[in-house]
């Protein structure tokens, strides 16, 4: 099996090449087959790896990527349990979303359809590179690749200026994080002389693993920079504002990139470097606080959003905050667990919203929906499952992962746990608000849309059903010990990468926590039910308006960073560019021009003039020779 590993990323890349180069003459059916088939093949290989347990921390070497004095960075893959799990998520969920896309994007022109699938395959390739790379540099290649694909796909409908602006925003925000990551990689090279995970982290000879000093400057610096990279990619405070705007892209893209896979790259990276982060409790504290703050902030914003995709986007930011909260408290397994379950139910919710948007002819405002339950039974039912899963109602997947996170947080920090609990309640509330407003009541859109409403074709509903099933059963790989002896299968599975930490919690406490989390979620759902059972148009006032405007964070960033930078740019343009560099360059030209005009009379064509000049200059030359030079 090992010798097939290189095919996992290579196949989507081939798909990208075929679809990208053949976009003008391949038929849509062929493009769909290539696009989905390559990802499916990767998924099958990943699955075979999983079944055969062909996982090892030893990197699989292919060739030297960089080889200079004192630093050797091989192009190598490392497929261990952690990356194996991510491979399954990426290729599995990725495949479903590809299938969904074939139907969702069907109305696009042929060349654009192929372009879409080419980008999507390139994204899968980059993401696989990111998780399979055996060192930070290969990860960085994938890291940049997914950023690029995210940019390309957000701006897929490039004729809409707002969409391209959103794409640009996502790219720039990501770049800020990427810079942190890059600096961290340089620092790691400077500090340890290698970037290979195996050489850094393995328990016997790892250069980081054998360190014992905690909170040394270098470790804290490296981890903080890595975390900065993660905040960019995974949309955490302060770099989260790009993700809601990224909803400009096609809905399957939001599902694949901005919910299931790319945004979890930061979590993967931190879980991957858990050895490093364990040495920096300071950074861990910051991560936990940032994660909790993001979770709460995004959840509050999500309550008052009216765009179906924006709600889901803020929900994603909030859930990512949850994962970082888990990472910050050292619960790496819980974070990865939540990545997985979140990939299932958030992809499900996004695809469901795509199905809704598809049905109501591109409308995204939930205030103009309603009453879709009867018309879209499959979408409604799967969406409902997604909502229950994300709200954390047992025994759906979201419950188990959320419970694992909250338990860990409770043990570490009571205050952050309270924030987590509030966020859980808010999550349940806004998701069911979305559900009720969208599917209950009567339809509030135009007559034309009402007539047009139809359930999506099978290519769209099948992925929904599969994801719904996964959302239901996905949690059973991490059942708490409390309910089932040896239930925490995931912890054992990831043990080679993430050392097991035993929590000592009274069973009674654990029961209480579970009851509490479930309780608040149920209460929140009931609240949402009574409030939004019947849709009433609401005029936001006071605090609600602040929430609807996303705490004015975009405006704040705009006035703190964007405007001054713009002013700086304008000033630089005026003073350096125009009167400095331009003046210099133009000045040279003008000087030559002017000089040429002045010299022109010398070239009169009159032989006499030439000779006169010659004589005069010779005369002067002689004078100089004889009298002055001495």
């Amino acid at each position: 099996m090992k010798n097939l590993i290189f095919l996992i990323p290579l196949l989507p890349f081939l798909g990208f090449l075929i679809n990208g180069l053949g976009r003008n003459f391949l038929s849509k059916a062929l493009v769909s087959i290539v696009g989905c088939g390559t990802v499916l093949a990767s998924f099958i290989i990943s699955l075979l790896l999983f079944i055969n347990k062909d996982y090892s921390a030893q990197p699989i070497y292919y060739f030297d990527f960089i080889n200079i004095e004192g630093l050797r960075i091989p192009f190598a893959f490392q497929v261990d349990q952690l990356s194996g799990l991510f491979l399954l998520i990426i290729t599995g969920v990725g495949f479903l979303i590809h299938v969904y896309s074939t139907s969702y994007m069907h109305e696009e022109l042929r060349a654009h359809f192929a372009r879409y699938f080419a980008y999507l395959n390139l994204f899968v390739f980059s993401m696989l590179l990111l998780v399979m790379g055996a060192n930070f540099v290969i990860m960085f290649i994938g890291w940049e690749g997914v950023g690029l694909c995210s940019y390309l796909l957000i701006g897929y409908w490039f004729k809409n200026v707002d969409f391209t602006k959103a794409a640009k925003k996502a790219f720039v925000m990501n770049r800020i994080g990427d810079l942190g990551f890059l600096l961290a990689v340089f620092w790691i090279i400077q500090q340890f002389g290698t970037v290979s995970y195996y050489e850094l982290f393995n328990a016997e000879t790892g250069k980081v693993a054998i360190l014992s000093a905690q909170n040394s400057t270098a470790i804290v610096g490296i981890t903080l920079l890595l975390f900065l990279g993660a905040t960019g990619k995974s949309a955490q405070i302060p770099l989260y504002t790009w993700l809601p705007d990224a909803m400009a892209g096609p809905t399957p893209v939001s599902a694949l990139i901005h919910a299931a896979t790319m945004v979890t790259a930061g979590i993967y990276m931190i879980a991957r470097s858990n050895v490093l982060f364990n040495l920096a409790p300071l950074t861990m504290g910051i991560i936990a606080v940032v994660g909790a703050a993001t979770a709460l902030l995004a959840a509050t914003i999500a309550i008052r959003q009216n765009d179906i995709k924006k709600v889901l986007a803020y929900s994603t930011v909030s859930q990512l905050g949850y994962m970082f909260l888990a990472l910050g408290t050292g619960a790496y397994v819980a974070a990865v667990f939540h990545v997985m379950t979140h990939a299932f139910f958030k992809a499900l919710l996004f695809l469901g919203s795509g199905s809704v948007i598809h049905a109501v002819s591109g409308q995204q405002d939930i205030r103009l929906m309603g009453g879709l339950r009867k018309k879209l039974p499959v979408t409604y039912f799967t969406f409902l499952i997604g909502c229950i899963a994300i709200a954390g109602i047992p025994p759906l997947s979201g419950f188990f992962s959320k419970d694992a996170i909250l338990l860990n947080v409770f043990v570490n920090d009571k205050f952050l746990w309270v924030i987590g609990l509030i966020t859980a309640a808010l999550t349940a509330f806004y998701m069911f608000r979305l559900l009720f407003i969208t599917f209950n009541g009567t339809f509030r859109g135009t007559e034309e849309q009402r007539v047009h409403i139809h359930e999506s074709p099978a290519a769209m509903t099948l992925p929904l059903i599969v994801l719904a099933v996964l959302s239901i059963i996905g949690g059973f790989i991490g059942v708490p010990e409390l309910f089932m002896e040896g239930g925490e299968w995931l912890t054992g599975f990831l043990a080679p990468v993430v050392p097991v930490v035993k929590l000592h919690v009274e069973h009674a406490t654990e029961y209480l926590l579970i009851a509490l989390t479930t309780g608040v979620a149920v209460i929140a759902i009931l609240l949402a039910f009574f409030r939004y059972k019947k849709y009433r148009p609401e005029q936001p006032s006071g605090f609600a308006r602040v929430l609807e405007n996303k705490w004015y964070v975009d405006e704040l960033y705009n006035s703190i960073f964007v405007q001054p930078l713009n002013k700086l740019g304008v000033a630089a343009n005026r003073y350096f560019e125009r009167s400095g560099i331009d003046a210099l360059v133009n000045g040279v030209g003008r000087l030559v021009h002017y000089g040429g005009r002045q010299m022109r009379w010398l070239q009169s064509g009159q032989v006499g003039n030439y000779i006169l000049l010659m004589v005069i200059s010779m005369f002067l030359f002689f004078l100089w020779q004889f009298f002055i030079r001495k």
Binding site: G605, Q606, G608, I611
Partner: protein
Amino acid sequence: MALFVIGIVGVLTRRNAIIIFMCIELMLNAVNLLLVAFSKMNNLANAANNPSAGSDGQLFVFFIMVVAAAEVAVGLSIIVMLYRNTHSVDVNFLNRLKH
């Protein structure tokens, strides 16, 4: 030197190609004359015991005169061509070359 200056002034002031040409010859010969004279002057000290000292200049001058003869032939033929083309020997017509 006087001859040379006459040559220069002639070249500068006249527009008749033949006169200019003659003035150039004048300058050339002025230089020849100077060459012979300076050559002798330079070797005055040796002149007493070696009457032929300092006659290198004269040798050079012979060469120059041979070359000058060829040059005159070329120059005159240019002037002839000039006359054939412009029906004049005025050098200022030559500035039409630039158009």
